[in-house]
Structures are given as C-alpha cells and as structure tokens.
Symmetry: C2
DNA sequence: AGATCGCTATTTGTCTGACTAAATAGCCAA
DNA sequence: TTGGCTATTTAGTCAGACAAATAGCGATCT
C-alpha cells in the first residue's frame, strides 16, 4: 500500500528538479498552474482534503500545507463544510513571483502580457527618472557590468538574458523605494518574454543595446528626464517587438 | 547556548475577532508583525518547530502551516538542519495585502510611507488616464456613487473612508488591467493613512472633494490627459498633507 | 599541514489516524 | 410559512512516529 507504483493519470505532480523539491511546494505549484491556466475556474470547489491527498498519494498534512500556500497568494479560500474554493481573479496576487511563474508555465494569454507591458510602461520610465537622482556608485557599476555582459553574451544565451534582467532590476533598486523594487519580479517576467518572443521570429531581431546604453548614460549623468524618455523608448520598442511576434501575420 | 527560559509572556498570539479565526492564520499574523516590525531581523533564525509550537501552545502542524504562509509571502525560508530564517527585505512581498496590513499594525516608518506615496504618484495618474479611455458605465456609476457617499458621510466616518477607497479602487479596475488592479490594496493602504494623518492634525483639514470631482469629471468626459493631471494634483496634495502631519514642527 | 571523505546530530519534511469545531442543509415543530 | 434544532460534512487541530536532508565535525589519507 505504501510505495505502490503510480497508476497513470492520478497522482501526478511534478517535483521540480532544482527548487521546490518539497512535496508541499510541488503540489502548490501543480494546483497553482491548474488554477491560473483556467483548468479550475473561480468559484470551483476542490475535492475535499482526504480525497485530494489520496489521489495525489500524499499525506493530508502535505496537501494542507500546499493549500495554505495557495491561500496566502489569494488563489483559494477554505472554510469548513464549504470546502476550498478558487477565489475570483481580482483577488489573486498577480505580481507575486511564484504566481507569475505559474502563469508563464504555459503560454500566457496575449491580454495578460499586454497588461504586464502596460505596467512596465508606467513604472519603468518613472523608476529610471528616480534612479537618475538617487543611484549610488555601486548600483551604477552593477548596471554597467550588466550591460557589458549583455553585449558580449547577447540575448541568445542564458547569461545574457540574466544580465538584461539584472540591469532592469538594478534600476528599480536604485530608486531606493522598497515597494517599487518588489515589482522587479513582474517586470523581469515581462522582460524575459520579450526575449522569447523576439527570438521566435525568424528574422534577426533589432539590437537592443543602443537603447539600453542610452538609459544607462542618462542615469549615470544624473538626468532624470532624459532617463525617463530613454526608458520610455526602450519599453515601447520592446512592446512593439513582442506585439509583432505575438500576432503572426506572415 | 539556548535560552532555557524564554521571554516572559510565552504562548501569546492574538486571534483576530473577525477574520483569521484559525490558529495558523493568527500565528502567521503574530510572526509576520514581529518580522516586519523589525523584532526579528533578516538573517535571524527562528526557534525550531518543536520549541516554537510548544511555546505558543499549539500543535506542530498548525505552526508549520503558519510558516508556510510566511514563506509564501517571502518573509522566511526553511531548510532542514539550518532551520527557518528571516529573508532579506528585498524578497518580502511588500505589496501583498496581508503583509501590508502587518506593516500598518504598528505605526509604519516614515520612509515606508514615503515609498508607498511615491508608488501612488507613479501609478495612479497613469491609471486615471487609462480609466478615462476604458471605463464603462457601470464603473463610472460606481465612482459617482462613491464620491457622493464620501461627500455626505465625510472622511470622519468609516463609511466615508470606505467610499474614498472604493473610488480609487474603481479607477484602478477601470483600467481593465488585472496586474495593475492588484496594486489597489497597496494604494488603499496609502489612502487610509492619508486620512489618519490628516485627522491627527487639530486644524480642520482641507476639503478633499473638489480634487476628487475633477478626477471624476475628466474620466467621465473621457479626457485622459486631464484625468492624469487631476489625479496628479490629488495625490500630490495628499502627500503634502501626510508629510505635514508626519513631521510635527509646531 | 592540508585536503578529502564520510559520519552524525539536528532540523525540517512527511505520514498516520484520531478528535474538534465550524458551517450548512434539511428536517421538524410551532 | 417560519423559525430553530440537529445531523452531516468539511476543514482545523492535535499527537507522535519516522524519513530525508544537510551543516559541521572529525577521521583519514596524501
């Protein structure tokens, strides 16, 4: 009864190779992905804890801990007798790093991506302006290193993409505004998908470096307005590229 | 090495009267407040699960579920052998409604409030502009009703304050951008504290209604730029009022 | 002396099963 | 019809055992 071989179908939950090697984390991820991908609709009630944990071949306590994680992120709500139900979308913590990752586990909807870009378009230019006023030398150096790395590795490599994200991250950090900085995971997600979509197009994509350097130069020169405008242009072009790739007209 | 007798007052955790009536929620709140208020510093290691749960007079499973909640919000990180440690501030989900509530449980630091206002200053004018383009009649009606309620009840009443928050909420919702809308809890928190600080001053505070109506009119008239400017002014004045109240010079 | 390997103690992680408490639905009586 | 009681279902809590991971130490080898 204990270690029986899983029957196909039920009891499958992916244990991520690296992180999330704990069962509760894996279950949370599995359920989280199922919820954000629409496999469960808001208002739907999950099977009760006993049935669910049996189907997944895990103990009730591990399953419950997974549910607590989902509840903490606003995806579900539990009450005695009623059970655990999926909450309405407006209550989901869409900017939570994990929730975001679950969203991007399957291809995100165009509408969702559009929303994320709109957020970038609002936040990043303002952040660049603040960064131009407040950045310290360490942060400036980190930005420069990131761009150099991005330049030499190109966005075709994982290291280059990480450098890209690191640059945008550091800009946010240089605002010295902690609440603003927590948006970095959301913006990082959008940045990542810009790259993915750009590379999906066959043609050689536009070189992103000049735009990035303009932002950097303005921040280094402590020119807020210039930094805002440069970042506006950068994000605008990224949006364009992504939109072009997402609407395949050819 | 380990303290035999812990601090006096062991086993105390507030069970919120209304929501959070479950033990795991109460413990999460107690620990969450202790963490964000600086009672535990990032890097600190919590007592192990057995000791902690005994001190709180709860079962280990209830305690563990609380820890899972905190981990889901990025406040702590658990690993075997090492224990559960408080994560660095930059990983905290500062915009999560519960985390925000824990922050405001004790008086928030001026710096934190400033960050929140800066976020408002960035997000709300842009949101008002988008709302002017996209709002539907239902949302418009909700905004109008909120302002009327706010006008008649005044910000001295709980109902009036709720109406204020509802107005700002609806503007965010009218952007039609779900990721943007999730910022409403953060912005609502800032709005709430504007009122608290304003009322702390003895003198009769400035009437907030004209500014609000200007924003509404612009959104109703579908004029994005006008809406942006009106909201900019509204938030700017709110910031001023709060700053005046937070720095008592008289 | 230094590096390497493996052991062990400690801590979280998982499991089991029983019992408690809350919330609902449905019944029964007024 | 209504109002309240009760049965039932579900999450919530508890206790205790065992498993897995790993940081740190110590023995061993070079």
């Amino acid at each position: 009864m204990r270690k029986k071989k899983d029957k196909a179908g039920e009891g499958e939950f992916a244990r991520d190779g690296l992180a999330n090697s704990r069962i509760h984390g894996s279950i949370a991820r599995t359920l989280g992905v199922a919820i954000v991908s629409g496999q469960y609709a808001p208002g739907d009630i999950l099977n009760n804890e006993i049935d669910s944990s049996e189907q997944l071949h895990v103990s009730r306590s591990a399953y419950r801990e997974a549910i607590r994680i989902l509840a903490a992120k606003g995806l579900v709500e539990s009450r005695p007798k009623t059970g655990t139900r999926v909450t309405e979308r407006s209550r989901w913590s869409l900017l939570d790093p994990e929730v975001l990752a679950w969203f991007f586990e399957s291809e995100p909807s165009e509408e969702f991506l559009k929303g994320l870009y709109e957020l970038r378009m609002i936040v990043e230019p303002a952040a660049a302006a603040l960064a131009a006023e407040r950045r310290n030398d360490t942060q400036l150096e980190r930005m420069r290193k990131a761009l150099i790395q991005m330049e030499s590795q190109t966005l075709a490599t994982e290291a280059g993409q990480a450098a890209d994200r690191d640059f945008h991250d550091t800009v946010l950090e240089a605002t010295g505004n902690p609440p603003l900085f927590t948006l970095s995971s959301s913006i990082g997600a959008a940045v990542r998908w810009t790259t993915i979509f750009k590379q999906r197009k066959r043609e050689l994509p536009r070189d992103p470096m000049p735009d990035h350097w303009k932002v950097f130069d303005a921040i280094a020169a402590a020119r807020p307005d210039q930094a805002r405008q440069a970042m506006e242009k950068l994000v605008g072009l990224a949006l364009e590229d992504t939109r072009a790739a997402i609407e395949p007209k050819d």
